[in-house]
């Protein structure tokens, strides 16, 4: 038996009896530093204040509480535990843990009830030995240094090749973090040819998808599910790929399978709701969104989009039939939560009010609906944040439905200006209007932008800048064009850009300051801004 007297332990279980008996087992092992928590929420707080060497966490913590897997995710993502710490998930039944496990964050070990002191000691001893063996890798992980992880793995494999398989996953993660795509692809394919594992399939699927090899990614996920039909994480991957391929109905079915395996997953339920809504399956959408809302209460993945989605699904489900009292209460409740909790977010406030207006109108109260719409329009006037393309389209459709066709058109016009270079967005706009003035408003600017990109890539920077400038004059709120202009300006400016150039750069970035933080280009915007303002 190893010496644990200097180590700190945290026991998390909602049953007092179990905490007591586990604590006395640890005492018998000579461990003095033992804390207990009756909920995961408390455990997370405690981990924020004290560094624990061992966490023994029961999986099931009761309804409406974070389960062990969610707690582990929170602790990892918020860096509240070191990679050197040992997290043991205690379960009543072994197979459930597998289904509930997320592929990204696995505990160091599962321990199935019942177990005795000898069994516990033996398990902990071995875990400590393994973590000691892997220490250089784990320290590099704590430092967030993937290059060093690879070096440490190489050293371990040379030192004792028998343990090389323990490094596989660390190496794959590090290669992914370093964007060594070709190397990672070869590495994962070799693993799958030898000893297929769910994580390796998932990593390969993600990699192929990221590199735009969508149909190959689909093949990988389909093969993976054939081999490991009980791993919900693989279904998530397949659904994501199917959405990208435009097969939204199949994507919905795939996610329904995943939800049957593992219903406790906020993000999965939310995506399922979204797909079902898009597929006009309003029953399915309200079921999934309802789950996402209620599970979201105690999750880091809580998202107001689920509330809006649920209200939307409930209204559309009853189109033409008014709304019964219970549904009205539910809609008020979920929208009320958004109004209360996201008071600062103008876009959400507008959207929540418009959805509510739609519901009220459907219930037959035209007067209140008109008032709500007016309030939403007033907020819209002063809004400087951009809607995401998706939200803009939903708002435009609602305004049209509420008899505010002109306001709806303004939204669409705006959307064309901001996102007009995105073909998928333009196709969706075309579904809502056939007004060619709106549909063609961005064409010239988008063309100029495309020429600018070509010149930029050919190294003709001044020519590129002129083309971007012309495009920007036509559509000053287009995010892509503004970012391209800023980037060209900074590139031309070099080490010490002239003041006028920096000012121009700041001006064009200021025009798109409303970019939603969910936009994939947000990070690029942020970096350009730092360079334009900071230097």
């Amino acid at each position: 038996m190893l010496v644990y007297s200097q180590k700190s332990f945290l026991i998390v279980d909602d049953f007092t009896d179990f905490r007591t008996s586990l604590r006395s087992m640890l005492r018998e092992m000579g461990i003095k530093d033992v804390d207990t928590a009756e909920s995961g929420e408390t455990a997370i707080r405690m981990c924020g204040q004290k560094r624990y060497d061992f966490i023994l966490h029961d999986f099931h913590m009761g309804d409406g509480r974070k389960n062990g897997q969610q707690v582990l995710e929170d602790l990892m993502l918020d860096k509240l535990i070191s990679h050197e710490a040992i997290f043991v998930m205690i379960t009543a039944e072994s197979s459930q843990a597998v289904v509930l496990s997320a592929l990204e964050h696995e505990p160091d070990a599962y321990l199935t009830k019942p177990f005795n002191r000898v069994g516990l000691t033996q398990r902990l001893d071995k875990l400590v030995q393994r973590k000691t063996l892997l220490k250089p890798i784990l320290q590099a992980l704590d430092r967030g240094n993937p290059a060093q992880v690879l070096v440490a793995c190489e050293q371990l494999c040379r030192q004792d090749p028998r343990f090389a398989p323990l490094c596989l996953r660390y190496r794959a993660d590090a290669m992914a973090a370093l964007n060594r795509h070709e190397e990672l692809e070869r590495f994962l394919k070799a693993i799958l040819a030898n000893r297929p594992t769910p994580w390796a399939y998932s990593a390969l699927g993600k990699l192929l998808f990221k590199r735009g090899q969508t149909s190959q990614a689909k093949d990988v996920y389909e093969q993976a599910i054939k081999a490991f039909s009980m791993m919900p994480g693989l279904y998530d991957g397949l659904a994501e790929v199917l959405v990208a391929l435009g097969e939204s109905r199949r994507a919905q079915h795939v996610l329904e399978d995943a939800v049957r395996l593992s219903p406790l997953a906020v993000k999965r339920q939310m995506l399922l709701g979204k797909l079902a809504l898009a597929n006009a399956d309003f029953d399915g959408a309200s079921r999934a969104y309802r789950q996402a809302v209620s599970q979201g209460q105690n999750s880091r993945f809580k998202d107001p989009e689920s509330n809006l989605g649920l209200a939307q699904a409930l209204i559309q489900k009853n189109t033409g039939n008014g709304l019964d009292a219970r549904t009205r209460v539910e809609i008020n409740q979920v929208l009320g939560d958004v109004a209360k909790e996201y008071a600062e977010d103008q876009g959400l406030q507008v959207r929540a009010r418009l959805i509510k207006a739609t519901g009220v109108a459907q219930a037959g109260d035209a007067e209140t609906a008109a008032k709500l719409t007016e309030a939403a329009l007033a907020r819209l006037e002063t809004m400087d944040q951009f809607f995401s393309a998706e939200a803009a389209l939903a708002v435009a459709a609602q305004l049209k439905q509420l008899g505010q066709e002109d306001a709806g058109k303004t939204i669409l016009k705006n959307c064309v200006e901001v996102y007009g270079d995105d073909n998928a967005v333009m196709q969706n706009i075309a579904k809502l209007t056939d007004d060619s003035a709106i549909l063609r408003a961005g064409n010239e600017a988008v063309d100029l932008n495309r020429q600018g990109v070509r010149s930029y890539q050919a190294g003709q920077l001044n020519e590129a800048l002129e083309q971007f400038r012309k495009a920007l004059k036509l559509q000053p709120k287009n995010i892509s064009i503004a970012l391209n202009t800023a980037q060209a300006l900074l590139r031309i400016g070099g080490e010490s850009p002239a003041a006028a150039l920096l000012q121009e750069c700041r001006d064009c970035l200021a025009k798109v300051a409303g970019i939603p933080d969910t936009d994939p280009r947000y990070e690029r915007y942020r970096k350009l801004r730092i360079r334009a303002v900071g230097s």
Partner: protein, 232 residues
């Protein structure tokens, strides 16, 4: 396995599975309460022949319930399979640790040997764990004073053997082991079902088209029953 009672509309295998699930939880509570109660007794009362029976049957019951749930999930094709590399020393040591008190009280010395060249094995820890655990439990029942678990590599397969120094398997059982494995023959319910379960789990561990398998015999280093699990 999915026999549906048309008149009541009940799916009996599902009902049984959920009852077994409750039984398992209930047993876990019972075991925990028992050990707490025991720890409050004076030392002289903590040992005794009844105590040995209670401990052993607790573990045996638990193993059977796990096996039943496993068989149900196999039947509806929902047994999760999550293979990975595991340290064999940790794996076998952990299984035997669960039996330490029983072994001690029955005066059985259990040893395990792992080939140093292969410290890692690739398999589903829970599934193979429940198979080997049941086999160990069974071996304890029939062993004299010794139990030996060995792990080594043979023709690119990992071979886990459980050997005891008892009277061994009945000759008829060894002769008909294929029928047990196929689930055709299961007259000695507990052992027979155990072999069937073990064979199904072994077969789930296939590599390049070669499925895992099991084998029973008499002999080995200890001369009694010998169970072998082959994982390619």
């Amino acid at each position: 396995m999915m026999s549906r009672d048309k008149e009541s509309g009940l799916d009996f295998s599902t009902v049984i599975a959920s009852t077994v699930h409750d039984m398992k939880n209930s047993l876990a509570m019972l075991m925990q309460a028992h050990s707490q109660w025991l720890s409050r007794l004076p030392d002289s009362h903590q040992q005794g022949p009844e105590q040995v029976v209670i401990e052993h049957e607790f573990v045996h019951l638990n193993g059977m319930l796990v096996q039943l749930l496993g068989l149900y999930k196999l039947g509806i094709n929902q047994l999760p399979m999550l293979p990975d590399y595991h340290e064999l020393d940790d794996f076998i040591g952990g299984l035997l640790a669960g039996y330490q008190e029983i072994l001690h009280s029955r005066d059985i010395v259990a040893r395990y040997e792992i080939d140093e060249a292969t410290p890692l094995g690739f398999f589903d820890r829970e599934l193979v764990g429940s198979v080997i655990s049941n086999i160990i439990n069974n071996a304890i029942r029939y062993a004299g004073h010794a139990l030996l678990v060995t792990v080594r590599e043979e023709n690119e397969a990992l071979v886990i053997s459980v050997n005891d120094d008892g009277a061994g398997f009945p000759a008829a059982m060894i002769a008909q082991q294929h029928e047990y494995v196929q689930g055709i023959e299961h007259s000695t319910a507990s052992t027979g079902l155990g072999l069937y379960f073990a064979a199904r789990i072994a077969a789930l561990h296939a590599r390049n088209g070669v499925p895992g398998r099991i084998e029973i015999a008499n002999g080995g280093a200890l001369g009694g029953g010998l169970f072998r699990l082959y994982l390619p």
